[in-house]
Symmetry: C2
Subunit: 189 residues, 2 copies
Amino acid sequence: MRSFVEQVIQPNDADWELFEQMLTERTLSRKDHFLQAGEVARHVAFVEKGLVRNYYLKDGNAHSVYFYLEGSMFTDIHSLLTGQPSRYYFEALEDCQLLLIAQTDMERLYAQSAIWERFGRLTMQRQVVVVQEMKNALVFDSPQERYQQLVRQKPRILERVPQHMIASYLGITPVHLSRIRRNLLETGA
Amino acid sequence: MRSFVEQVIQPNDADWELFEQMLTERTLSRKDHFLQAGEVARHVAFVEKGLVRNYYLKDGNAHSVYFYLEGSMFTDIHSLLTGQPSRYYFEALEDCQLLLIAQTDMERLYAQSAIWERFGRLTMQRQVVVVQEMKNALVFDSPQERYQQLVRQKPRILERVPQHMIASYLGITPVHLSRIRRNLLETGA
DNA sequence: CGCATTCCTTAACTTTTGTTAATGCACAGG
DNA sequence: CCTGTGCATTAACAAAAGTTAAGGAATGCG
């Protein structure tokens, strides 16, 4: 967690103490949910260990939005900020150990220390860039290209997430992903 | 501009003065570019009047990313933050009047006044939510649904942007968009 | 060990979307 | 007023992706 934060800012000891007081631990067993649609997100989570899937339901089908490995932070930002019920689910794909910080504490942190406000801003800025790139890939790259990018950029996710969830993350069907993989094996190597 | 900012924070007079000193005006004629691929983004822009298209080139084709109407802010955040050359173009679709603030001034603002740091954080948080929703729509909704959402949510963009640019924004071809529109006319109404 | 479950693959078929090309309309510039 | 250019539509055809269904490997559990 510390190294995650220090990639972005350099808090002094007092800043750290303030922050660490607010952290709580939580464990999730495989298939447990951190958040379900209809609930309001009140915490930001940091993955110490395990793997969390963000997905949502449309017409009874689960669509994967993202996968969070060790060293990632996640929450439903929209729900957290507005207090509206979330439309998303966050589910442990493996047994997980999380560090949580409550939104109310986060606000106190922002108010008390400029460096944490900065942390919030910089984290959000990075997040914008990441999501924007993902969005553009969806418009401009073919499913095969998106799959290849995933292989290159997030091989660890590929190893630990079932293929049908990868497919819905890429915006295609499991059948089609299987075809793409075969095609790559035959032609590419 | 003022009302745009005040939707997010309430700066006092000193805050405002600090901010307004940093603003510069810029006009663009139709088809002028605010930024071209290869250049580094050094300013954030606010659209006072006109309409700006964000697009990029792939295989010689222009793909529209977003359209900024009066009252919107834009820049290439990635280029702005990293100093790397942008991959995007920002082009005036109509004669435009912009307010600019330099990244260097922005940094000074953040350093000098906590409220502007907060403005930055909140703006970015909103942006994350917006882009995330767009991304999810691309994965989970059909082109027709995406077009209908656009009709509902951004009718003003539809009125002022050529249809083939709308198509590339939706991730489909102009021909297909035309088919969708006909289909909606025949069945929907 | 046997059984159920989950998940990946494959095939046959259908639907959706893209491609190419032709037509016609509107509008700007000479 | 004429003409070129850009743009939307349409049709015919091609390619990409989805659907359904079946089979088989791996896994977990009694």
